[in-house]
Subunit: 270 residues, 4 copies
């Protein structure tokens, strides 16, 4: 059966024949392998054009910033999965990136939409500040978290966010989205009644959108970056396995509070 009314039948990313592989119109073997860095290639794949040195530097900075932050849930998931299924490293990576969601790690895209909404609303005689205030208030009324702000560990300020804004300044790419990101951080204490710092997932879309990276590709940045971190953890897991150690500790942290026969003792709590 045919689902939907899709009649687009083409793709513009890559094609090939026996001798030549074209990627975004370029000869992969002759022009790209050995010439481009992986970051430049990623920009080319996503956008269809090569990045400027400044664009490349901003994209590199965001990928480095979000690749690794210790034994966070996605890493634990990945290492536990490899411990249980060592025959499929790809399965352990897949399990890990499934945690790149709206709450953790994947909020760069939501933050990008948030910044873009403010940017789009600030036209004519609506100031940036008025636009920001009205969008933030709408999120608040809908009881939605403000994406890109707040961090469970770095309460005084996410040092990665500050560094990314610095890279944007150094490369002369900082523009309206960075301005909005800073502005919202200033406005939040008054609107929410408490401060909430710009975090790495808020800084990533700010600097990337200003550099010309597309909104639809934002979620790809933490996904690609974290894949690198997961692979490093899986190489370590093969050498010193901690997946089941973590799982044991996690289970012990939770009590069973369902029905049980009198005198029943769960084994983990004795």
């Amino acid at each position: 059966m045919k689902i939907g009314r899709q009649d687009q039948r083409s793709s513009a990313i890559s094609t090939s024949n026996e001798d030549t592989i074209l990627v975004r119109g370029r000869d992969l073997v002759r022009d790209l392998i050995g010439t481009l860095s992986f970051t430049e290639h990623f920009w080319l794949l996503v956008t269809g054009v090569l990045p400027s040195p400044a664009q490349r530097r901003v994209l590199d900075a965001t990928l480095v910033a979000i690749a690794e932050h210790g034994l966070v849930p996605s890493v634990q998931v990945s290492r536990m999965t490899l411990a249980a299924a060592p025959e499929a490293l790809q399965g352990a990576v897949a399990a890990g990136i499934l945690g790149c969601g709206s709450v953790v790690l994947g909020s760069s895209e939501a933050a990008g939409r948030f910044l873009s909404q403010i940017e789009a609303r600030a036209t004519g005689n609506v100031s940036l500040e008025a636009a920001a205030t009205s969008v933030v208030s709408e999120y608040r009324q809908a009881r939605s978290a403000i994406p890109g702000y707040g961090h469970p560990l770095h309460r005084g300020g996410d040092p990665r966010a500050a560094r990314l804004l610095q890279v944007a300044a150094d490369t002369n790419t900082a523009g309206r989205h960075v301005e909005i990101a800073r502005l919202v951080e200033r406005l939040l204490p008054a609107i929410l009644g408490r401060p909430l710092v710009l975090n790495v997932s808020g800084a990533i879309p700010a600097v990337l959108l200003d550099a010309g990276y597309p909104l639809l590709g934002l979620k790809g940045v933490p996904l690609l970056a974290r894949t690198a971190g997961l692979i490093a953890h899986l190489v370590e897991e093969q050498q010193r396995a901690i997946g089941f150690v973590m799982s044991h500790a996690a289970a012990q942290a939770i009590d069973y509070d369902g029905a049980a026969p009198p005198g029943f003792k769960p084994s983990d709590e004795t």
Copy 2:
């Protein structure tokens, strides 16, 4: 319950406190973001040390080589999954990389083990050629495919493989694994009775192992690279959806040959 006898309780990749994030012993914010390229960071994450310029160039070349090759199964899987579940881009990426397996895309690691086996066997008075011949013969007897050789489209030679060996030569990193990879290509016609060309999944471990990249991290290279390609396809899928078009064509290519009432006509074949 505690599974297994794991008593390792530590990790050496990353730690943090409220002010500082350490990655491989370095201050992420001060020393890495804005300084390292993503490729250098990936090497650092996996190995614990920074790559030399030559090592970085070889790793970049392999990542660029394997990131994208058109509408291959992993890409189709990813785009079909996004069409069905647009709320979770991470799910579409995960589905795609689950196809980075032993048959397609994931064979770099198997090829790396194959090359390493030959390398390890060629000691003392066993020549490389004798070692290669005996290992290939064992694979043949076990009816296993020779990993890293043969390609369904590029029968006259995978142009990506040749280019990667060239990069290894240009960076003066080519060594024993590249030598083995070439040697096996020369020996195969006599042993198998037909030529089988070195493909990109054979060249990747050859140049990376020679450059000092670890065997246990080899599978991470196609996984990371393909994630970049999948993200590009998912950005395109959001703009021009072909997931269900491909699915419709795929279903039409297959007949139903089970039992059916007399005169029953499947809808897709009328």
Copy 3:
């Protein structure tokens, strides 16, 4: 770091010691294995109580209804993934169920929320019809599809939906949600300007909610059911492989329309 303010530290589903495994307070070995059907066990796991015969029959009917519908996208994804990575059947199943999303297969939950919204709004002097009309109009204004209605193949009526409503009638479980599901089907032509039939993903929540199955567990029904269908396809794929045949046909259905050197011929279109 600790994410969020979760202070719940308990679970009520299962615990065990060396001799006994408790599931929902019952002795798994003594009371459940060999006594319960899998469907009864699933109901017990999700709700904490055993189903009545009528509840079991309704849940069985929904699971049977949605388990299999030929070479749909989730099945293709699963078979292509096994073809590429035969070492990990679990990866092929996971890839398939990642397509159980908001557009295809996973809409039972959205339909359940839609029916529940109407049910909740019809209180006091608001008739069911008024409640249904206002909720449908809101979906329309938000340009959202009406979940649980319409089918690309079964345009005259999804025969599975009619059968499920019959099972609800036969078991005397049909109630307000089934009434709403039928009512909406009657109202849609006038509101949307065209008829849209109740489909299996609309009938599933209607009969399950009336039978007392919880809204939060609705998405589990197509997920569990389709897992059964995927496994059957993967058993067949191991015996007669069509994953790459489908992939080849899918790729041929799509043209490349990016840049290319003059005279370049893609191999698949010659």
Copy 4:
């Protein structure tokens, strides 16, 4: 490009037209929905024929036995993934079943192959005992675990295994594979120098193969069963979230032993 030499172009599982859906040659709506239990439908999907009451009962028993065992790694992975990405329940289920691997949960298939190997070798004048001894010795020489034996918690005997063998006896389906499973348990102390009890993953293939369920479908049994357990946990996770509580405890169990500046204090250890 076309991968491999697959020329099979048909499937025998399901087809449909606008009015009728055929599953394994039967009319889904008229003959299966409301008539079959989900377990019978699963057997029909996998094998193409309906099960006898005894076969259904054995399959039900195995599915009930392996569906749930508390906060095991696959469940933790699933709940952590939902906590991070609540927008995609299918992603949390997929992450969980990716841990149905060769070490944990997925060993039913390996155990089935092990039992079948012994069964196939015991022909002519080779006794079952001689066949079992030689196969076990080969596993030992290859330093492979004996699949289906041993359990980290139930050291005195996995009570689920004993119960499954009882169900096989009660339904008169117990045959040669059950005999082999028991025989190996008796032989292991002498061969390995220590006792190793038959576990649930060894009993499942023993009773299913004797009941006529196919070897190629064995891995589907823990996969389908655990999906039911995961769904129950995800329903609970939506109501009382423990995903990040478990993750916090897991991270605290692991020390960082990489390089660090003098005096650096990780936040989780203070």
